[in-house]
């Protein structure tokens, strides 16, 4: 249990990092960054093998953020894990920085520059194929958004990975229910996703994307599964999770926060148990 407490603490710290970085006069992808903080915390603390001192170590697991607009959350956890200094994180989006709004491989620990949706999974398949053919143990995890499933390239990739039995590949869907312009239910209602994925020969898991224990259980199941299928985790999340000011609000997808609100959020995040 104390371990879970550590995860909770880490996740809270990541949220604080994100808020600290925001610049009051500019809009940022906030809600969609917060919805994946707990998933990223579990991945980087319990699931992925990473090497902050030597980011390109050949034994590392591959993590791809296909929903590149939520890069800030990944930068924050990479910083927390020691891939680069806090001072570097604080340059986010500033003139001359190497941390843009969308994922960039200039940032140590980032495997693929993304930002256009539907690119991450095919590239993840390339890594997974390479590892399987070379009999290597490295895992590949691709985190995508629910709206991103609109992109046809993902369905090409879903068909392929199931057919080729890429059991070292895991996809996580951040099911926060919102996409760029409107709720996913209104744009293209994808539910139920599980029933659509299973026939393509995938293991599908549904989990609360903010429940560390439940998510860890899923990753243990994946670790122990021997059926040669790739893994698809549908993680139900809340947009803006962890900050009441954003939580569950559509407008948090892309938003600016004034200095006063920022201070209040930070105070709140610090005092909460």
């Amino acid at each position: 249990m104390s371990n879970d407490k550590n995860l909770t603490e880490t996740a809270k710290e990541i949220r604080k990092y994100i808020i600290e970085v925001l610049r009051p006069k500019e809009s940022h992808h906030i809600g969609c960054s917060f919805s994946i903080v707990d998933i990223l915390t579990l991945l980087y603390c319990r699931v992925l093998k990473t090497f902050p001192e030597t980011p390109k170590n050949s034994r590392r697991d591959i993590f791809i953020l296909s929903k590149g607009h939520a890069a800030l959350a990944v930068y924050a956890i990479l910083c927390k894990k020691g891939f680069f200094k806090k001072g570097t994180l604080m340059t986010y989006e500033q003139d001359g920085s190497w941390l843009p709004e969308h994922m960039s491989t200039k940032v140590p620990g980032v495997e693929l520059s993304t930002g256009s949706l539907g690119h991450g999974l095919p590239v993840g398949i390339g890594f997974a194929t390479s590892f399987i053919n070379d009999k290597k143990k490295n895992k590949v995890v691709v985190l995508m958004s629910d709206g991103e499933l609109n992109e046809g390239s993902n369905w090409e990739a879903i068909m392929y990975a199931g057919h080729h039995q890429l059991n070292n590949l895991t996809v996580i869907i951040d099911l926060n229910g919102f996409q760029g312009y409107a709720p996913t239910k209104k744009v293209i209602d994808l539910l139920p996703i599980k029933e659509k994925i299973i026939p393509f020969n995938w293991n599908v898991y549904e989990v609360n994307g903010h429940d560390f224990k439940a998510m860890e259980k899923v990753f243990n199941q994946i670790k122990n599964s021997r059926n040669n299928k790739p893994n698809f985790i549908i993680a139900k999340t809340v947009k803006g999770k962890g900050v009441p000011y954003f939580e569950g609000k559509f407008e948090s997808h892309y938003k600016s926060v004034d200095e006063k609100t920022k201070t209040e959020i930070l105070k709140d995040l610090t005092k909460k148990p």
Binding site: P122, G124, F127, N133, A157, Y160
Partner: protein, 305 residues
């Protein structure tokens, strides 16, 4: 030209275990030897080009050398953003083998023609473009590219393209190749249409006493700027001939370079800005569109008068 290229790739795959060949479900009667001898490193991705480019990127990011085989429009247009973001932005060791340069697919129709491919690929950072004129040049180029580690597009014909270069041909990537030194005017060309240009120049010589300089620009990018400028300076009119649209291909590339340094008349010979609804073989189409030797000869004569 295609078989020569595939043979070279077979050799690379036999020598280097980190080499993969992906196909978008094409290459029937062409790729079987590679499939049989390297079953794990030959992947028919299916009819899914976006996924194919992404997979190639992932393989290359994990240290592999990747060749991708398909028909040009499917290979370059269907998945353009994947080429830009995944391959070019990450500067990966991926070779795009595009079959069916220009109107090589003739009777198959416009969906299979490649008349805009150079126009869309030229602006991409890190992307090189190799457009061989015959099998000898194609093979020489593939040998060079075997140790190249960046994105490159190879614009391939089909088979039975005439041989232009001799067996001792010395290939140099990024450097233009002089086909014939003339006196009166200069023609830059690329790809298998070079053969028509050579024939057109013979007509110019016998009928009009004009001997053109012919330069084969087999590397469209990085292009041989120095040589293009040097040769443009010597001639009154610059001609470009290509089996590609007049917009964005060799003619545009030459015009970009020359116009920056000197006032010079540049006549671009290529296909017009139109949808081709003609039906016929490649030689029929070239003839009808004025891209065979006679058509090229006529266009040059007209420009000179």
């Amino acid at each position: 030209m295609r078989d020569g290229i595939i043979n070279e790739i077979y050799k690379v795959m036999a020598k280097n275990e980190n080499t993969y060949l992906l196909t978008g479900d094409l290459g029937y009667n062409t790729l079987e030897k590679i499939e049989n001898d390297f079953p794990k490193r030959f992947i028919d991705v299916g009819v899914a080009e976006q996924n194919m480019i992404g997979i190639a990127a992932g393989l290359a990011l994990s240290g592999k050398k990747v060749y991708i085989y398909s028909i040009i429009p499917f290979l370059t247009m269907r998945c353009y953003e994947q080429i830009r973001n995944d391959l070019c932005f990450h500067d990966l060791d991926v070779t795009l083998l595009g079959v069916g340069a220009g109107m090589a697919y003739g009777i198959l129709g416009s969906s299979h023609f490649a008349l805009e491919d150079m126009a869309i690929l030229r602006p991409l950072p890190n992307m090189a473009i190799f457009s061989p004129s015959d099998e000898i040049e194609a093979v020489a180029g593939m040998r060079y590219l075997a140790s190249y580690k960046h994105p490159v597009y190879v614009r391939i014909g089909l088979r039975q393209e005439p041989i232009i270069n001799d067996k001792n041909y010395k290939f140099s990537f990024g450097k233009a190749s002089l086909i014939q030194r003339g006196l009166d005017l200069t023609i830059f060309t690329t790809g298998s249409i070079t053969d028509e240009v050579i024939k057109a120049s013979k007509m110019l010589e016998t009928k009009k006493g004009i001997i053109p300089t012919i330069i084969n620009i087999h590397t469209i990018k990085p292009i041989d700027e120095d040589l293009i400028l040097k040769e443009a300076k010597k001639t009154k009119i610059v001609f470009t001939v290509e089996e590609h649209g007049k917009i964005g291909g060799l003619g545009s590339a030459v015009a970009d370079i020359v116009s920056e340094f000197m006032p010079k008349r540049i006549i671009r010979i290529g296909t017009e800005d139109q949808v081709l609804k003609l039906v016929g073989t490649r030689s029929y189409l070239r003839k009808t569109l004025g891209l065979d030797a006679e058509g090229i000869y006529q266009k040059i004569i007209k420009s000179l008068s």
